[in-house]
């Protein structure tokens, strides 16, 4: 089996590129999976697309079937109509244990911009679920992603990564909004979108004292459900301009493929609302607010995900000890996972080899005892044990070699050699 991940993240690639490569809707993901299944029929594929990353995981039984990074880059380029030269140098690749370790780091939020953020677990779960729905997953992918979710639980319970400011909203509000506004209970808050990020933001803002919250979403029902949970007011998308004009804090986290608010539209809104200070936090990838919105006047303060990088980096340094603990857990779990995977691959060979040799032993012992009928029970047992020991000693070197090889990957060559040498059929 070979696990591979080709990816770009906030650490290597700017939001301007990430948003072009993002898979922002279920429809888009379904089309992508159809295309991937057609191009790489013998590969399991999982697409993970969040505001911080775009990652393609592929898993194959046979390394020959693995799509090359170039093929995956071509897929991204053709699917999103983005020339490869815009992102090729930013694409990274990991294989085998490193790929497993990468996924475990991602799901444990070690690779997230905001260390300890809980959303990534659900984002990974959702990506996995969508892959299953699109019939892109097999047994190995299931084992990999279920293992990843188990690891994230372990990291959360055995380290203190999940303590403190662990959401993007909390970092952005703590770092920027609190430097603009003294308090939030007298401010009008607009949350654009009704997904998990919007929910997380609402939870945080409410804890910070926000009382006048409006939720606007393309689906009014979803907006109403979310608003009801937090005592907010749902408004239809048609009222967006009014809501934007009234708001002091705007948090946007939609899955829209294009900017929802461009500079011209927001300029008209500002003409109505006056130049009061407004904090706009755009958590969308692709971004919901055109960057030019931030330059409209002196009192529009626009922030997107990448503006929070320095703060997040500072938090990361402050929690280096917890990161080390989490990394130790991840390394251990990655080793265990790889061991289990390779053991699963070599297990049938070992079993068949043992079974065949023991069958031969049993056959020959029976034949011998039939000829030597005068042997008593004690002698027979001694002979059986001696032959058993001989077989075990003869089997030990090849099986030990197989186990050794399996520590660094599926030993396809050795397994083939054993099959041929000992006549083990498929």
């Amino acid at each position: 089996m070979i696990v591979q991940v080709v990816y770009c993240t906030h650490q290597t690639t700017g939001l301007d590129v990430r948003e072009k490569l993002a898979f922002s809707s279920t429809d888009q993901l379904a089309r992508a999976y159809r295309r991937l299944r057609a191009d790489f029929p013998r590969s399991d594929v999982v697409l993970l697309s969040t505001c911080n990353r775009v990652e393609l995981y592929t898993v194959q039984e046979d390394p020959q079937d693995a799509p090359t990074p170039e093929q995956l880059a071509r897929f991204l380029s053709e699917f999103h109509h983005v020339p490869q030269d815009q992102f090729l140098s930013d694409l990274l690749r990991q294989t085998g244990r490193d790929a497993v370790r990468h996924l475990f780091q991602v799901v444990s939020s070690l690779d997230s911009m905001v260390l300890g953020e809980p959303q990534i677990v659900n984002q990974v779960k959702e990506a996995y679920r969508v892959a299953i729905d699109n019939e892109a997953c097999g047994v190995l992918t299931n084992a990999l992603f279920q293992g990843a979710i188990r690891v994230s639980k372990r990291v959360r319970s055995e380290t203190r990564l999940a303590e403190g400011r662990v959401s993007i909203a909390s970092v952005a509000v703590g770092e920027f909004a609190k430097s603009i506004f003294d308090r939030f209970d007298d401010k009008r808050v607009l949350v654009l979108g009704a997904g998990e990020m919007a929910e997380e933001t609402l939870r945080y803002l409410q804890a910070e004292g926000a009382r006048h919250i409006t939720v606007v979403n393309r689906s009014f029902d979803r907006a109403a459900r979310l608003a009801a949970e937090f005592g907010a007011v749902p408004r239809p998308l048609d009222d967006l301009d009014d809501c934007l004009a009234e708001a002091d804090l705007i948090v946007s986290a939609t899955g829209a493929g294009l900017p929802v608010v461009d500079a011209e539209r927001f300029g008209r809104i500002r003409a109505r609302s006056g130049e009061k200070p407004v904090f706009v936090l755009d958590l969308g990838a692709p971004r919901d607010f055109a960057p030019a919105v931030g330059h409209l006047d002196e009192n529009v303060f626009l922030y997107d995900i990448d503006h929070l990088r320095t703060t997040c980096e500072r938090n990361r340094v402050a929690r280096a000890q917890e990161i080390e603990k989490a990394r130790a857990i991840i390394d251990e779990e990655a080793d265990r996972f790889m061991h289990d995977v390779y053991h699963q691959a070599t297990g049938p060979i070992i079993k068949r080899l043992r079974d065949e040799w023991h069958d031969v032993r049993a056959e020959e012992v029976d034949r011998l005892f039939a000829k030597l009928a005068h042997l008593d029970e004690r002698d027979r047992r001694e002979i059986e044990r001696a032959i058993e020991r001989i077989i075990n000693k003869l089997l030990h070197p090849p099986l030990e070699a197989l186990r050794d090889e399996a520590r660094s990957g599926t030993p396809h060559g050795l397994m083939d050699a054993l099959k041929r040498l000992f006549g083990i059929g498929d």
Binding site: E175, F176, K178, S179, I180, F181, D182, R183, G274, E275, K276, P277, E298, N299, F301, Y303, H307, T310, T311, R314
Partner: protein
């Protein structure tokens, strides 16, 4: 006590400012305690100096001389700094207030240290001198507190502009440069202007009253005195700013900050410019000497 000099507290405040600057570079565990110790030591020396000066001239510090009331202004700024720093340990207000304190103390070297002759010569004399002394004290106190208010507005405006620039450029908080929110700074600035303009107005009013009374009593003061004219212009500027602030429903914070800075600049020019001109106070002094 008589050995306390301006250099004593100037040096203490300079060390406190240096320690404030250290916060921008690295976190030093005892920095804050040592910084507060130096600031407090300077404050004690500063207070002692003003008390000694007041005893020597037998006048309140505000009336002793231009030099003394500048030191009083610096003293007020220091009180503000100490209170804010003790209340909020992270607030970097010292980076803005302490340089102003140092500039005020430094500038006091270049202005007259002679006691104000108009009131110096009226120690407990007749009824007219007593009235002059009381009015002069009120006049000086109102002006100093008014100028203190503008100074506070100036500092809050500087902090506003620094904070605004950081937020607009999406820069993260610089370690050690924790500033109040724009909303709070704008509010502080608004109140500083709103409070200081009436104080300056009353200061101007009492000054004119004092001038008229002095002219009647001593026939020495002219309303065309450069000090009165310059302060009158300053007052008009501040009143215009005041009216604009009250009339504008939601004034842009950055605009208010810049206007406050300009107003403060004009105030500084007026105060120091008039020091170079032949003034009512100088004339009064000459009269006093002639008598």
């Amino acid at each position: 006590m008589e050995n306390v000099t301006v250099v004593c507290f100037l040096a203490s405040y300079a060390v406190a400012l240096a320690l404030e600057l250290v916060r921008l570079v690295k976190r030093v565990p005892v920095r804050r305690a040592v910084m507060l110790l130096f600031a407090a030591a300077g404050f004690v020396a500063h207070t002692t100096y003003l008390v000694v000066r007041s005893r020597q001239t037998e006048l309140p510090p505000l009336l002793s001389s231009t030099q003394d009331w500048m030191l009083v202004l610096a003293w007020l700024a220091l009180v503000f700094y100490l209170v804010l720093t003790l209340v909020d340990r992270d607030l970097a207000v010292g980076l803005f207030l302490l340089p102003l304190v140092l500039v005020l103390i430094g500038a006091s070297y270049f202005v007259s240290g002679e006691p104000n002759a108009l009131v110096a010569g009226s120690n407990g004399a007749g009824a007219a001198e007593g009235v002059v002394r009381r009015w002069a004290l009120l006049h000086a106190a109102l002006l100093v507190f008014g100028i203190g208010g503008v100074m506070l507005g100036f500092v809050s405006s500087l902090m506003y502009l620094v904070q605004h620039r950081r937020l607009k450029q999406q820069q993260t908080l610089l370690a050690g440069l924790q500033l109040p929110s724009l909303e709070r700074l704008a509010r502080l600035n608004w109140w500083a202007v709103i409070v200081s303009v009436p104080l300056l107005t009353l200061g101007m009013g009492t000054g004119i009253g004092l001038a008229l009374y002095s002219r009647r009593a001593f026939a020495t003061v002219s309303l065309a005195d450069p000090v009165i004219v310059a302060n009158g212009v300053l007052w008009l500027v501040m009143v215009a700013f005041f009216v604009w602030l009250l009339r504008t429903e939601r004034p842009a914070g950055k605009q208010v900050a810049w206007l406050t800075i300009w107003a403060f600049g004009f105030l500084v020019l007026t105060l120091f410019g008039t020091e170079l001109l032949p003034t009512w106070h100088a004339a009064a002094k000459e009269i006093s000497v002639r008598e």
